[in-house]
Subunit: 241 residues, 2 copies
């Protein structure tokens, strides 16, 4: 269902994992090495987490055409779509020149990634698009803390904390809040409210696997910078009698 | 929070990804190579998916002590716990001999993995336990199909189809049913009932990344063997006007 065209131009959405370059897959390292062009979803390559991870393992990375594309951050649907179509159009030109293009993303490209928009548009236009999976940041956060996200009948609920979180306290099992950014304070306040009624096990992992990684067990009052990539994991506390 | 002991024995829970050996991380390949003992959660190594994936990349794998441990499959909590304690005890002996022990799991060790039980017991006993994240099978399934699991405000709900799935149709966003096994037919019947009321986009991916991989778009009536590792992804159908 991925390949729809005869020409050799192809777009790869490549997940480089959450931060530690050793969490890149063998496939991501190989495919990035084979690409002619790399698309970074930031303003400059120096500011691109995904680029900084990849350059640790891909030797010839700076020999490639490196194109920075800033994605608009707005909730105006029309402006957003226009911006995505423009970026997809720019990438399409490389595909029409039979180039191998890699779009780098933190974590996994299928989970809250800007790649998804471009993927959809270019698949609609009959282009070849493939995804190379990456380690999602919440898996690495669980590993970092030394907990399991689900066992037995536990469910896992992955929630964008950048949107409406009301009602999410009703979910059974483990909740993972991503993309909190400037809304982290609001999320912590929401969970503090919930803690009045039942015991929770809360972990906050910021910049997992990066140099400035921080981990909190419990709802901290410390102020966490909004540019940190923060994962909040909430489990109901199991009381052992 | 992982290291709690002075001795050098350590247990690694190592995710080898869903099937394609190229989806192993650099870290998984390195750590497996460094282990003295490998624990496989099956009866024989030949039947162990995780071993079969790892042996494609880890050259000296058969020089290691390879120990097969069959985990009891029962809903009897007491029997289950006894079995987990026994396996944890067997592993503990290697740790007390200062061995590096790798426990191989398909996908990621923090998601519905038998490693979680052993991890919990051995952490309680003050042993060194670490998790090496792997690509979850649902990420690879999304990549295989060429879809995104979540964008914008979409939530992702990961559900064990081996347990009660009633009520899961109310979840907004994307649902991922794992571990369906012999209950796959029941799950398909449940989703067929739901389809009477609203349009769903259903994908079924069996043995993702393995030689006998199969993919269905829509609710198939074909009978799928219960030993297949099957991921069912359900999205609400977006109607474009």
């Amino acid at each position: 269902m991925n390949s729809k065209s005869d020409n050799t131009g192809i777009l790869y959405g490549i997940g480089v994992g959450p931060g530690d370059f050793e969490l890149m897959t063998l496939k991501a390292v190989r495919i990035i090495g084979e690409c002619d062009v790399l698309i970074l979803p930031t303003e400059t390559k120096e500011n691109c987490h995904a680029y900084n991870i990849a350059k640790e393992t891909v030797e010839n990375i700076d020999d490639k055409d490196i194109i920075c594309k800033r994605f608009l951050m707005t909730k105006d649907e029309k402006l957003l779509e226009e911006s995505h179509r423009q970026i997809a159009g720019d990438i399409e030109k490389y595909l029409d020149e039979d180039k191998k293009v890699g779009f780098l993303t933190i974590g996994d490209p299928s989970i809250y990634s800007t790649f998804a928009y471009v993927q959809e548009i270019l698949l609609e236009r009959g282009k070849r698009v493939e995804t190379v999976s990456g380690i999602p940041s919440f898996c690495a956060a669980a590993a970092r803390i030394g907990i399991s996200l689900s066992s037995g009948s536990d469910e896992i609920h992955v929630i964008s904390a950048n949107h409406d979180i009301k009602g999410t306290s009703q979910y059974q099992g483990t909740r993972i809040y991503m993309k909190s950014g400037r809304k982290l304070k609001e999320l912590i306040a929401y969970l503090k409210e919930e803690e009045k009624f039942r015991e929770l096990d809360v972990y906050i992992v910021a910049n997992c696997g990066m140099e400035n990684e921080r981990v909190w067990h419990g709802l901290t009052d410390e102020s966490i910078p909004s540019e940190y990539l923060t994962i909040v994991i909430v489990k109901e506390k199991i009381i052992n009698f």
